[in-house]
């Protein structure tokens, strides 16, 4: 019985111990017996990276973090075990970052040129690369979610304060005033648009006029130029003096003509006065005639005289005819 107990207990103990050890190794993905390549990286800060976290190259898991040690100098050395067949980049750096939003970290081995273009990361890489060059890969740590959320929280707080202040300043009255200001601004904008359009048209017209004026000025300038050329030409041939002499002679002629005209004018004035007097008399005569004064007035205004005259003429015509017909009856010419 005792030996049976010993066997059973021994079996259970050995089996349990082996099972537990294998269970832990299997879950931790430890590789027993296979050779591993160790790579060390130096960091100023490793964030929340832990022993056992994944090491990734080009997005593929290539190993695990084996140890994290704090050096007396203040640097943190992270030792990583990698598959020996994996080839590292030519200028490798190690960047620690969160692999998920739930706090798991990973170490990514990448080309120096492919490192995030962040000033802090670049500074960390430069600092860690400068210390003990060649002994450990340069390392940097990206900010974790907590830091990002802290920054986001600060920004949200600032925005909240700004929003509060804005809310205080922006009450209903301010909103109405702002609305009115917007309307006024819209009206002003429309008015400005109209003004600009009008001014634009005026400017176009002015521009056209100016263009025409410039053309005219150009033509005038050409004419002036021509005239100047002629003057120059005339001056050069002595024709100007002749012209001036002719002009002086013409001026004398004009002066004489003016004198004659002045005399003629005086004569005309006298003639006018005489004509006026004649017309006055004529008017007086015509007035008398019209009023029936005098013989002519009576002749004009009294038909009897006309009739008498007409009758007389008829009688005289008859008498003449009678005389012509019987001259001896009326005429007796005696010579002695």
């Amino acid at each position: 019985m005792k030996r049976g107990n010993d066997f059973v207990v021994g079996l259970v103990v050995i089996g349990s111990v082996v099972a537990i050890v294998l269970f832990a190794l299997w879950l931790s993905q430890a590789s027993l017996g296979s050779k591993q390549r160790n790579v060390v990286a130096r960091f100023t800060d490793v964030g929340n990276a832990k022993v056992g976290n994944s090491v990734v190259i080009r997005g593929v898991q290539a190993g695990r973090i084996q140890s994290i040690e704090l050096e007396p100098t203040g640097w943190v050395l992270v030792k990583m075990s990698l598959d020996p067949d994996i080839k590292l980049p030519s200028n490798p750096v190690v960047v620690l970052s969160e692999s998920s939003m739930f706090g798991e970290w990973q170490a990514t081995i990448m080309e120096r040129a492919a490192a995030p273009d962040d000033a802090d990361v670049q500074q960390q890489l430069a600092q860690s690369g400068a210390v003990g060059r060649g002994s450990a890969l340069p390392g940097a740590r990206l900010p974790d979610i907590a830091q990002l959320t802290a920054v986001a929280g600060r920004i949200a707080g600032d925005m909240s304060r700004v929003a509060d202040r804005f809310q205080v300043a922006f009450d209903d009255r301010a909103a109405n005033e702002l609305r009115q200001s917007i309307r006024n601004f819209a009206d002003l904008s429309a008015e400005l648009e109209r003004t600009v359009r009008t001014q634009s048209q005026g400017l176009s017209q002015l521009s056209s006029d100016v263009h025409k004026t410039v053309g005219t000025i150009n033509a005038t300038a050409v004419a002036v130029q021509r005239t100047a050329d002629r003057v120059d030409s005339s001056t050069s041939k002595g024709q100007i003096h002749q012209i001036m002499d002719n002009v002086g002679q013409a001026s004398d002629d004009i002066k004489a003509t003016s004198h004659d005209l002045r005399n003629a004018s005086h004569s005309l004035m006298a003639t006018q006065q005489q004509l006026t007097s004649v017309l006055t008399h004529a008017d007086s005569v015509l007035g008398k005639i019209d009023r029936g004064q005098g013989s002519l007035g009576l002749m004009v205004n009294d038909p009897t005289l006309y009739q008498n005259g007409d009758a007389l003429l008829s009688q005289m015509r008859e008498l003449v005819a009678e005389i012509r017909a019987h001259p001896r009856q009326y005429l007796s010419v005696k010579i002695f």
Partner: protein
């Protein structure tokens, strides 16, 4: 006046109890040195306390793993990726539930068994007979049980961890339609060998406490069958309380502050 006397009696009783427990612990520690006395009986106790307790420990682990997987799925749906079911099952089983639930179950089975057995020996004066025959009861009765409990509890708990995680794995595949790779990804994501070490050490302390309390209460049994019954009851209650106290102790001293 009666109140003051009652208070005085209660304090004196507690101090005497603590003193007796301290003396018992000292005698057991001294008896640990006589290996020839306790080693022949250790295998038998390991069989009775450990190997024979495996079924109950594994049964608890199976159901714990299944329930944890379903519980995690219920809690995570829509908020957290489902592969975190593996993370939660692994962490909870190894760090807490396997040691504590198995410890509580064994406290009932082992603690009561030891207290009843030793209590019966006490009230039937078998312990006195051993003393008369110059056998040290501590090295002959106590140390083999304490050693067996301290060794076998972690082994039972370790196997319970494996079985619990396996049950959770199978439940995730069969009931939650989670792929095996996803579950393992979650289980391995935050796994650390420390989780297993912590659970096993905690289980060892539970085994030590449960067996020691069972022995103490059994050897302190008085008054026949009723005294044996009381001893068994007290052993279970004190063991359960001590498991929870130790659980908090390890969490505060070893887990807390560890990153």
């Amino acid at each position: 006046m009666n109140v003051i006397e009652a208070t005085g009696r209660w304090v004196r009783f507690r101090v005497e109890e603590a003193g007796r427990a301290g003396r018992f612990l000292e005698e057991a520690a001294l008896a640990f040195g006589s290996v020839r006395s306790w080693l022949p009986n250790a295998t038998l106790q390991m069989r009775r306390l450990g190997v024979d307790s495996l079924p109950i420990g594994l049964l608890i682990a199976v159901f714990t793993g299944i329930v944890l997987a379903l519980l995690a799925s219920y809690s995570f749906t829509g908020a957290v990726p489902l592969y975190f079911v593996g993370t939660l099952v692994e962490k909870t089983i190894t760090l807490e539930l396997a040691p504590v639930l198995t410890g509580l179950a064994l406290a009932g089975r082992v603690g009561a068994n030891i207290a009843a057995e030793l209590g019966t020996m006490r009230v039937t004066e078998q312990v006195d007979a051993l003393e008369t025959l110059a056998y040290d009861p501590d090295s002959y009765l106590v140390v083999p049980r304490v050693v067996a409990g301290t060794i076998m509890f972690p082994l039972i708990v370790g196997v319970a961890m494996i079985v619990g995680l396996g049950a959770g794995w199978l439940a995730s595949i069969g009931l939650l339609h989670l792929s095996s790779d996803e579950f393992l990804k979650g289980a391995r994501m935050f796994f650390s060998t420390f989780d297993v070490e912590y659970g096993l050490v905690k289980a060892g302390s539970f085994g030590f406490a449960v067996t020691l309390i069972g022995c103490y209460k059994g050897l302190r049994a008085r008054g026949g069958a009723e005294g044996v019954g009381n001893a068994a009851t007290q052993a279970v209650v004190y063991s359960a309380v001590m498991i929870l106290v130790l659980d908090a102790f390890w969490a505060m001293t070893w887990l807390h502050g560890r990153s």
